[in-house]
Symmetry: C2
Subunit: 200 residues, 2 copies
């Protein structure tokens, strides 16, 4: 046996710096895609600065009133959990906050996820299951791969498939800013944590 | 605002019944694919019986010595978190147990995930990021869809893509048992929790 099995719970926690910023972030209103993307991009760049994970941030908003519902950042290297991508963390926090696994029902149909980079193969599936109906992204898949991350194998027509399920995807929101965040991470020698021995 | 934002952590916990069974499960050895799949299938059927989530179970083993590393069950309806599929839970518990997000490095390359049903779109991506190199599944995608779950949009060639990344996938291990578990859930009127208002 590699070691005795004792784990029966896993905690996903926002980093201290983000927890401290939440009250102020939540007190503001975010009326436009650009304003909402700013939150995701700032979370990504602060996550790099604080060295609490990969160069990715995400946030969920109520588009109808512009309020913030949750924020997530990539926690892979700090949590030791490969599924803690920014989108998954933001979705988990929103579902815990709103006490439902379905962020697409009733009045929640107005929720929007802003992510600092196009979702990877896992996050496309996570969005599918989350119920979210509106997604905006900054950097493209190719921008993420350009700094060395293997985004996994995505169906070529995932955006059309999202559309056929009522999920609206808007790319390139403040894309240049998204690219700059990724490149800052690469310049600082940030950990490219691909699985299979190349990363950990 | 839908409600004030206060969530900063999310807990993923194994159900009490599974926690109680862990010491005995971990004391045994699992030398074959069939023996390992039995653990995943039993977790799935007990999860139905205890009404702690969807009809899915998964477990991670060290193939080299036959030891159990982690067990997961679907917790979507009990945790309120859409990403708590059995595979994701088993991966998270293994990563917490072994203190690494890369289950493919060094001696961990011998780890194998047994899942009671073929992975959905999200779990294909989660496996990619986990580092796991060996996956066995019982029920097929079509068996899961047959009871009403929308498994998401999977790349047609995902198994070949896994192979090209050194991930071995073995389907149909005790498939009939896997189908029976799914059908038991359907017969009992188990919650088919698809997102977007059809489930929650």
């Amino acid at each position: 046996m590699i070691q005795p099995m004792t784990t029966t719970r896993v905690d996903i926690q926002l980093p201290d710096w983000l927890r401290r910023e939440l009250p102020e972030l939540a007190s503001r209103s975010y009326p436009s895609d650009d304003a909402r993307m700013e939150v995701a991009l700032r979370a990504a760049s602060e996550n790099i600065r604080h060295e609490t994970g990969g160069p990715f941030g995400a946030a969920i908003f109520n588009k109808q009133d512009g309020s913030l519902v949750s924020v997530g950042v990539n926690l892979v290297t700090s949590s030791g959990l490969s599924m803690t991508h920014a989108e998954v963390v933001a979705i988990a926090m929103a579902q815990a906050e709103l006490k439902t696994f379905d962020l697409g029902k009733g009045e929640l149909a107005h929720l929007q996820l802003a992510t600092s980079a196009e979702p990877c193969s896992m996050c496309i599936g996570a969005i599918h299951w989350s119920g979210l109906k509106s997604i905006i992204a900054s950097a493209r898949d190719e921008d993420v791969r350009a700094i060395g991350f293997d985004e996994g194998h995505k169906p070529a027509d995932w955006i059309a498939h999202f559309a056929s399920h009522g999920i609206e995807f808007t790319p390139d929101v403040l894309r240049q800013r998204g690219i700059e965040v990724l490149q800052m991470y690469a310049r600082r020698g940030g950990h490219i944590y691909n699985a299979g021995g190349s990363g950990a």
